[in-house]
Amino acid sequence: MTYQSQSVAKPYFIVAIALFVGQILFGTILGLQYVIGDFLFPEIPFNVARMVHTNLLIVWLLFGFMGAAYYLIPEESETELFSPFLAILMFWIFAVAGVLTILGYLLVPYATLAELTMDDLFPTMGREFLEQPTITKIGIVIVALSFLFNIGMTMLKGRKTAVSLVLMIGLTGLAVFFLFAFYVPENLVKDKFYWWFVVHLWVEGVWELIMGAILAFVLIKTTGVDREVIEKWLYVIIAMSLITGLIGTGHHFYWIGTPEYWQWWGSIFSAMEPIPFFMMTIFAFNMVNRRRRNHPNQAAVLWALGTAVMAFLGAGVWGFLHTLAPVNYFTHGTQITAAHGHMAFYGAYVMIVLTMISYSMPMLNGRKEANSNKSQIVEMWSFWIMTVSMVFITLFLTGAGILQTYMQRYTDTPISFMEVQDKVAIFYWLREGAGIFFLIGLIVYVASFFIGGDEPEATVKDAA
């Protein structure tokens, strides 16, 4: 760790991992509710568990992004953080607000939570992924602005690199597009249309910038490849992301009351959305192959390569599967969407945050460059268990989705939703099994932080 103030990243990462564990626990509850419908009913109905599952994901990824920025920006800018105090203050505000919101979901019915937080004054609740009470949303904005101010001032007083600039643009975009969460018109079509300006322009827009910047940073550090080369490709890749992804928003506008032309625009542009992810995979492997040094933190390199591959599979391939309008006509809102969502979020965003944690945690814990061999081996085991489990979760959901699409939508004698759910139950059982394996992988991951702490650091020779 070059700069003392980088250490503010540590609490962010710890809370991120803790919330990750919570997210997966609720994931296994949801999986079980798919097959045992009355599990935990009426105490924790499905909608509440799902809200906790998705909101925890978003919140812990935001913690991860912020932690990553607090670690990355001072190092790139070659200066101490503008205000470590502000960073810690915002950490506590965000953590308390996040925990209170989750508790609110769990302890009282959602409608009561809406009453308690006076949602009628400025209604923004009850939309997918944006279920947070308005007061929490305002809190998020305040935290985000303080955060941007903090890292922006740090950048201004120091060196400006492409990596930090791209990260800054991505994070600014994240904050700006979140503002659409406050626009909830009575008109359902408009509501849905602008809702995607948050959700799509996040995950298929500015978040890709964040992902690209973090990946580039870790690759620069672990491969020793010339910064010029990496930054050049970073620009090309994120340019492709936005070129395809901005109009690619159209693939959400096929069937929600918007004009027919979106089917053409959306299909054509989103058909090209896998390209930047493919380039990212090629890029990551290329840079590692051209490495000028062997970094002792092999776990971080594994995560970096893993995120590039899994993002391409999850976002690129599984996205392409159902993005063309004639296909999407039948698959829209089925388990195919769920399959894509799981692998894309894991591959692109979970893994990039874990890449950054894997790279920086040894230094935050006072190591020189890497954890001990023992710890790294456990971490790599967790990588494989979680990643393979996620592949199977995706495959089982895809199987369920294909059957569902056929029986409920495609065949000449369609049967009802609930009947179909019974018929594909075997896939849900298998998915739940894969989910349990994922949880085991996550436990192994957490364990890797407590194993081999007293052993000497891995050296290049050992790791190679």
Binding site: G37, R127, V236, G257, Q263, P414
Partner: protein, 144 residues
Amino acid sequence: MSETFTKSMARNIFYGGSVFFFLLLLALTFDTESALPELDNRENLTEEVALGKRVWEKNNCVGCHTLLGEGAYFAPELGNVYQRFGNSTDAIKGFIMSRPKDGIPGRRSMPQFNLSDEELEGIAQFLKYTSGINTQNWPPNIQG
């Protein structure tokens, strides 16, 4: 002549390309806004429907159901539930009212939300309104 591939040109393309396609998105958004009156069934967007949408949101219905294909995939699509229930708002209200408080053993069940008469009418009218949105013939059949 040597190969030229500069970081500054890559950066310019990133900025130029992003601005270009963002403007294109805005242009298409603008056109969509002007097209919506013909598609979004706004002539039937009454006070009651607006109230129903609030009920929909306050009870987090989208946490289990899809509406026009968006939401959770745990419970049936509701964009065409009005037609599926025989073009009857009473049938919708009846279904919501009759949900058992403690669920159905071993099976998925919608919670009992204890909605007031006004709220029930609102949500039913909201779902009726939604079924009138021009969704380019989606879903493919009545099963949603």
